[in-house]
Symmetry: C2
Subunit: 157 residues, 2 copies
């Protein structure tokens, strides 16, 4: 299926008190090629294998395929991944009729907070909460696959 | 799980009349890195996603994880693969208490026939049928992932 998402930096922790769900996510990549990525994810007490294609030119739409796998398989496959495992806490916040997923990164990406909202079409409007900062939709350096190879702690070095 | 396999070239078509099963296989790779490959396969009327690790030093043992996926998903994911899709016919032959899988390659790898036998341990013996030629266990150039990038028709060029 094709996913349509917009992505923003987050400039305060104000979103935390509005959050209805908080989940620890640990993930690695079996590859980080920009035309296709294969991700292994531990999300709470579930495992997932996710394959994503290249983004559309405007960065909004991207092919995504996912299957649930056991925690045991996910752990085994994360062992096989490229170095640079991503560790983060995901908060979910309802803003009017949209759900924002806000990732607070840990480890080598600590200090980075990114919010994503999924849309049904490219032109769909949505309420902008005050804690949203600059839009970074389509900026490859904020892809988790890139953050695993070139983490936030190295930026500006 | 860990798979233990030995791989041989095949020097005649004599195996065909001993075969009890014949299946068309079309497969692509989401990556072909030697430490980890991700394969999408159409095998007869089924689809599979398979992840393999690096081989042991002797080339015999290799981590392998597989899940069945729908034909529709397999077709969608093959579209996403690196160029160099592998097309072959797999014959299965029972030789005493072992089953040999013999792949007759088509397309850019036409002329290449490879047999594999799966073993329960590294030292397990087995009957060698007369149509088996040189052993190529652990020789990376005969990996399907490598054949997709450097096919048989280019060898010796």
């Amino acid at each position: 299926m094709i996913e349509i998402e917009r992505k923003f930096l987050v400039n305060s922790y104000a979103f935390k008190k509005e959050s209805f769900k908080k989940t620890r996510i640990v993930q690695g990549f079996l590859n980080t090629h920009k035309e296709r990525t294969v991700r292994v994810r531990l999300k709470g007490d579930k495992g997932f294998l996710t394959i994503k294609g290249q983004s559309s030119k405007d960065g909004l739409a991207r092919f995504e395929w996912e299957t649930e796998i056991s925690i045991k398989d996910a752990n085994g496959l994360i062992e096989l991944c490229e170095s640079g495992v991503i560790d983060k806490v995901r908060y979910e916040v309802q803003v009017k009729n949209h759900i924002f997923e806000i990732d607070e990164f840990l480890g080598d990406n600590e200090g980075l907070i990114i919010a994503e909202v999924e849309l049904n079409s490219k032109n769909e409007g949505f309420e902008m909460p005050i804690w949203l900062d600059k839009e970074v939709t389509g900026d490859i350096k904020y892809y988790n696959s890139q953050l695993s190879q070139d983490p936030f702690c190295n930026w500006g070095k």
